[in-house]
């Protein structure tokens, strides 16, 4: 007789707790980056900025404490979002809540107070400085912050729901609370930015600069390191190695991606965790080689190529190569994987539609390594992506397009683009000067290939990716979540998400998103990707003629 019984795993709570802790850490990092991005906005308002920002250790401690709690709360939603959503829906069905303006006004007021307080601390003269100098500043800031979070939670669901929901899982709440308090303590006492600026950054510079100097000297170059100015000089070509060039951002990103990957792949051995530990160190090493190569290019060939092209593009190429190698090693080598697997290209079904866009971005990045400034390498992208489109054409399964509605949509998006994206006269003049600095035949050939790319190759690559593959990928992902929403809402979410990504990859994200929405609506309406291709092609063709006829080159 054979019998199968299911025994609850004794490690589920341990695993859950660790997962929660790790996730909180990830979110605090992300939240720190987002916060610093917001704070750097004062560069946009120099007329408001005071002479220096006010650094208050007590206010900073309160801020670190509270933002960790917010990060941990966001993590809760990330991990248990679907469960939360269902519980909230169930509660609201039983006790419907009518719309009320009060909570919205309270939240807006709290938001205003928070921004005024943070802005003033950051050197933007909103509140009187006297208010920031008293001993009550930290307490006031804490209250403002708590008010902001409390009003946000109130908007999300009624207070009674929160009470019932949070205390329905006391053990989970306890683990979350303990993890959050530990991280908040670390964040307040261990990660003071002023302290880190004086300790970690100089040490990172020392390691990086002397590593680069060692590589350069082995190649026969004479490198001079200036620790006082964070500078490095080779044969008259001097660069300052700023904090972002030290490689910690790439290493952090690589580490988070790898750690997340190793975390979720249950079939990996313990050695996988060691690889996660070692890979960022390897990335620091590769970063030293990148800066050494940059110095050689700057000293021997072109400072412009070194600083404006190779610098950033090589960082991303390094990161992708190291990550790719790490994932390959985790899957393929028996020392890491219990059941080794090979990573093979997957161009089945709709995924092949993503290929031209991926090739387009990859070639853009590779050409940027040696071609900064004017985009002379554009024809290279047109040719390579054109060849990919031809090779895989039958597999895209594009249906015959209609012309009237797509053309009208394309023309409307062209008008929208002109209304939303202003022409930069200085940039246009610089573009024109560079373009006509070469023989006229070359310039005309470049314009012809630029038009061909904009009107045909790019619309095909982008629409296949965003209105083809992305629609399917996002749709499948949303279906797996099994949210209790109508198919219409799901399609709307797919449309919005794919348009936002499309917008983010274009120069003007808002205009790009609007254009993406228009093409996506067309695809939704007709069910054909080819209609979106026609609309996109019409927009870009009209734009190309407009650019050439009015010399508004900055729109290219």
């Amino acid at each position: 007789m054979s019998l199968t019984v299911t025994v609850p795993s004794p490690v589920s709570s341990v695993g859950g707790a660790l997962r929660l802790l790790f996730g909180v850490m990830v979110l605090v990092v992300l939240e720190s980056v987002a916060y610093q991005a917001v704070m750097s906005l004062d560069d946009l308002f120099p007329q408001l900025a005071a002479q220096s920002s006010v650094y208050r250790p007590d206010v900073y401690a309160v801020h670190q404490l509270l933002k960790t709690v917010v990060g941990a709360g966001l993590l809760w939603l990330l991990l248990f979002g679907r469960e939360f959503y269902l519980a909230r829906s169930q509660y609201l069905v039983q006790r419907p809540v009518e719309f009320s303006l009060g909570p919205w006004l309270a939240h807006l007021l709290a938001l205003g107070m928070l921004l005024a307080f943070r802005g003033s601390l950051n050197g933007i003269a909103i509140l009187p400085v006297a208010l920031l100098q008293g001993g009550w500043a930290a307490l006031v800031y804490g209250l403002v912050f708590v008010g902001f979070v409390a009003t946000a939670l109130r908007l999300l669901a009624p207070g009674l729901f929160w009470q019932q929901y949070l205390f329905s899982q006391p053990r989970r709440l306890l683990v979350w609370g303990v993890g959050t308090v530990l991280l908040a303590g670390l964040s307040v006492y261990g990660l003071d930015p002023v302290h880190l600026e004086r300790t970690v950054m100089p040490w990172l510079f020392h390691v990086t600069a002397h590593g680069v100097a060692g590589v350069l000297e082995s190649l026969g170059y004479r490198a001079i390191v200036n620790s006082a100015s964070s500078g490095l000089m080779v044969e008259g070509f001097e660069v300052q190695i700023g904090a972002p060039c030290l490689g910690y951002e790439g290493a952090t990103l690589a580490l988070l991606v790898l750690a997340g990957y190793a975390w979720h792949r249950s079939r990996l051995r313990l050695a996988a965790a060691w690889l996660v530990l070692v890979m960022p160190i390897l990335l620091y090493g590769v970063n030293i080689l990148r800066i050494a190569a940059l110095m050689v290019i700057g000293a021997s060939w072109s400072p412009d190529v070194a600083v404006h092209g190779f610098h950033s593009a090589a960082g991303w190429v390094n990161l992708l190569l190291v990550l790719g190698m790490a994932v390959w090693a985790l899957e393929r080598l028996p020392v890491f994987a219990r059941q080794p697997t090979a990573l093979v290209p997957d161009l089945d079904d709709y995924k092949v539609q993503l290929l031209p866009q991926v090739v387009l971005i990859a070639v853009s990045m590779l050409t940027l390594l040696v071609n900064p400034g004017f985009d002379w390498a554009y024809p290279v992208r047109v040719v390579i992506v054109g060849l990919v489109l031809m090779k895989f054409w039958p597999r895209f399964q594009l249906q015959r397009a209609q012309w009237l509605l797509p053309s009208a949509t394309g023309a409307a998006v062209f008008g929208l683009w002109l209304a939303m994206v202003p022409v930069d006269a200085v940039q246009s003049a610089r573009f024109s000067q560079t373009l006509w600095s070469v023989p006229a035949g070359w310039a005309l050939a470049w314009i012809a290939l630029r038009m061909l790319g904009a009107s045909l190759v790019v619309p095909l690559a982008e629409e296949l990716a965003f209105r083809g593959a992305a629609f399917r990928l996002l749709g499948d992902a949303l279906q797996k979540l099994q949210l209790p929403v109508s198919p219409c809402v799901q399609t709307g979410a797919v449309l919005l998400l794919s348009s936002l990504v499309f917008g983010a990859l274009h120069g003007d994200w808002l205009a790009g998103t609007m254009a993406g929405l228009a093409y996506g609506l067309l695809r939704w309406h007709s069910g054909r990707v080819s209609d979106a291709v026609v609309a996109h092609g019409v927009t870009n063709t009209l734009l190309a003629f407009y650019v050439i006829s009015t010399k508004s080159w900055s729109l290219w």
Binding site: T6, V33, P193, L277, L320, L343, D346, Q357, I361, V501
Partner: protein, 72 residues
């Protein structure tokens, strides 16, 4: 969930689960991630970062991830 098969009153673990290895792996990943990301936790803002290039890099990474699959 751990599946245990009962056959002729003999308990046999279908897939052995190493609790120590499991916890060690998770702890090691967490601690290394925590320690090595310290500079990014509180480093100054870096406005000179090329946002467009970063978005392209992320999109490329995501695209490549979709275009590969595991095969035994």
């Amino acid at each position: 969930m751990l599946m245990i098969e009962c056959n002729n009153l003999t308990l046999k673990s279908v897939r052995p689960f190493h609790l120590k290895v499991f916890i060690m792996k998770k702890l090691l990943i967490s601690i290394s991630a925590l320690a090595l990301t310290v500079p990014a936790w509180a480093a100054p803002a870096v406005p000179e970062i090329d946002a467009a290039l970063s978005l392209q890099g992320l999109a490329l990474a995501a695209g490549i991830a979709v275009l590969f699959k595991r095969k035994r």
